[in-house]
């Protein structure tokens, strides 16, 4: 399926063959492709072929106002959009020296953790589908929808919430929302034993995932791996704990760690993170009614807003890993330069290329899903 060179090329005779894995392939996540060289079904060489989702975000953001970019940034990572808008807002706040009110910070934590649960449920579904267990996918997507309903209620959008703006959040919680949030959390927690029996303890999954896509801690650090993938190699690093932003330093939560660094360990780390996110959300539900005050710091007229000149680098922990924004302002109404350091561009390109070598072709999809790579964020 490569239009540029679909005509036959003469090659010296050999037992190796090349295969285009994707972009229109049931096993691949999103619109992404790999060129793999195979002997039988063993991968000898893999080369990532991205760019199918390139939209030129970093250039587009230079052509729009500071406030317009809020609508643009969540589109970078589709399954987990909330950290994107938050990280950008934090960068603009740092440039302007805006102080975010306490209540807005708690609301932001709530949004982030809800988004993390939704993203993890979606990943479990996709990962299970690559090992042939479609029931988990049906369950995961259906349970994620309950969280999307909550998103719709308090932000107005199902997938792209666009809830944060520089200085705070857009709107106050609807009445009785925390009650409904607790009910949904109870329901999801009650479902987790079922997920364990269906997927996490299932021998089909365990036998296929153990020993697939192994990386050591040294390799992970060398390749720039972050997030749950790094924690699956035994290193407990989490931006929420080690470089706290918002009010994460006032919350109690653990950093789940696994040692073996394979697909199985990565999935188990996410499974435990789900519990930790529920724990954080329960603390938020307890504390949030006692915190009063405004939800937004006053900002100048957003249509004629000249952000003071300077540069900044902010980072948050998204469900995929460490997400960073480098923003430069020259004092004008539009950003001078925005660079997004997404976690997936490392995971889906250099890590996946190296991990696929030596594995079987049917395990490529599983490796990609266990890395939780997000193709729109790779290409931007």
């Amino acid at each position: 399926m490569r239009p540029e060179n679909y005509e036959a090329q003469r090659q010296p005779p050999s037992n190796e063959y090349e295969l285009n894995f994707g972009p229109n392939h049931p096993g691949i996540e999103g619109n992404y492709a790999l060129k793999v060289k195979l002997h039988g079904d063993i991968v000898l060489e893999a080369k990532a072929d991205g760019g199918y989702l390139h939209r030129g975000f970093e250039k587009l953001m230079e052509q729009r106002l500071w406030i317009q970019n809020i609508a643009l940034v969540p589109r970078i990572c589709v399954p987990d959009p909330s950290p994107m808008e938050l990280c950008y807002s934090m960068a603009v706040e740092e440039l302007c020296g805006l102080k975010v009110p306490q209540r807005a910070q708690w609301l932001r934590v709530m949004q982030l953790e809800l988004s993390r649960i939704a993203a993890h449920l979606f990943t479990f579904g996709g990962h299970a589908a690559t090992t042939g267990m479609y029931s988990t996918m049906y369950w995961g997507v259906a349970d994620r929808d309950l969280l999307l309903d909550l998103f719709e209620e308090f932000t107005g959008g199902r997938v792209y919430s666009i809830y944060n703006i520089p200085g705070g959040v857009r709107r106050e919680l609807p009445e009785g929302f925390l009650q409904r949030l607790t009910e949904t959390l109870d329901y999801i927690e009650s479902r987790l034993p079922d997920y364990d029996n269906l997927f996490f303890k299932n021998q089909v999954f365990v036998k296929r995932a153990k020993g697939t896509g192994v990386m050591s801690r040294e390799q992970a650090l060398e390749w720039g791996v972050t997030g749950p993938n790094l924690r699956a190699t035994g290193l407990a690093f989490d931006v929420r704990r080690d470089d706290p932003y918002l009010v994460y330093d006032q919350l109690a939560f653990d950093i789940p760690v696994e040692e073996s660094g394979d697909a199985w360990a990565r999935t188990l780390v996410r499974r435990q993170e789900l519990m930790e996110s529920i724990r954080i959300l329960r603390q938020v539900v307890e504390i949030l009614p006692d915190i009063h005050g405004p939800i937004r710091a006053p900002i100048p007229n957003p249509l004629a807003w000249n952000v003071p000149a300077g540069e900044t680098y902010t980072r948050v922990e998204s469900s995929k890993g460490e997400l960073c924004y480098y923003v430069v302002s020259n004092g004008g109404p539009k950003p001078y330069r925005v660079h997004v350091r997404g976690p997936s561009s490392m995971h889906a390109v250099q890590v996946l290329e190296k991990m696929s070598v030596g594995s079987r072709i049917e395990d490529i999809a599983q490796t990609m899903f266990s890395l939780d790579a997000c193709p729109p964020e790779v290409d931007r």
Binding site: A8, P23, N24
Partner: protein
């Protein structure tokens, strides 16, 4: 759609009445078992798993995802198409067997949407292939997707959804737009003109200045030599 050639309407009463009943039956059956080729071209793909799985359940309408283009009926373009993707989308569309239907989901397929000033995306999908139905929104909810597909079912049932014929009748127009984007020597492995002759769908717009370029830049395909023998080396470990 004014540039499209007016397709002459066949008189209803003519022909064998039994054949008419048979045609109606075929259309009815066709509209009740649709396989969609789910090519995730953009962000709209994220709303399709909810639409397909337990909560909204598209399968109750007889709509199912299908993995290969040869067996699919609907090409679902979910969101913006970058130029690199558009090549694959066109190849996929030409590989699908007729009758085939194209549904453009999200605002980006209508007019570029959020990315109207982006250098990397194709703005209007219907310049490159005929589109049966647009579902606007950024992104459309699963209910909107399902209601859009229901509308497509109705149109297939009544015989209005025949955009695939338009691709054969106005191939020159679509090819011209594709050449504008990909260069003069743009070729696809599918021979649309022969297919148009086969379906008896040669229109005034099938051949033109752009299809002449197609012949000019065509490279002859060489037959592949397949040899199995002792001189094949084992891979080095």
């Amino acid at each position: 759609m004014s540039r499209l050639q007016k397709i002459p309407v066949v008189e209803e009463k003519k022909g064998n009445p039994l054949a008419r009943v048979f045609d109606d039956l075929v259309r009815f059956c066709r509209s009740r078992s649709l396989f969609i080729l789910h090519y995730c071209t953009g962000c709209g793909a994220i709303e399709l798993p909810p639409a397909m799985t337990s909560r909204f359940d598209m399968e109750r309408l007889g709509i199912q995802p299908m993995v290969s283009p040869r067996q699919a009926d609907i090409l679902l373009i979910t969101g913006y198409v970058s130029i690199k993707t558009l090549k694959r989308v066109i190849l996929t569309y030409e590989q699908m067997g007729s009758p085939k239907y194209v549904v453009g989901i999200c605002s980006c397929t209508v007019n570029g949407g959020m990315y109207w000033q982006s250098y990397a995306t194709a703005k209007k999908l219907d310049e490159y292939m005929p589109v049966d139905l647009y579902i606007a929104g950024c992104m459309p909810r699963p209910e909107a997707v399902i209601s859009g597909l229901q509308k497509l079912m109705d149109r297939i049932n009544s015989g209005e959804a025949d955009s695939w014929q338009d691709y054969y009748r106005n191939y020159d127009y679509y090819l011209g737009n594709q050449q504008k984007l990909f260069g003069e020597d743009w070729q696809t492995p599918t021979d649309i003109i022969t297919e148009a002759k086969h379906y008896e769908l040669m229109g005034e717009g099938t051949l033109g200045q752009h299809t002449r370029l197609l012949e000019q830049h065509q490279k002859p395909l060489e037959a592949l030599e397949m040899r199995l023998g002792h001189n094949i080396k084992e891979p080095v470990e």
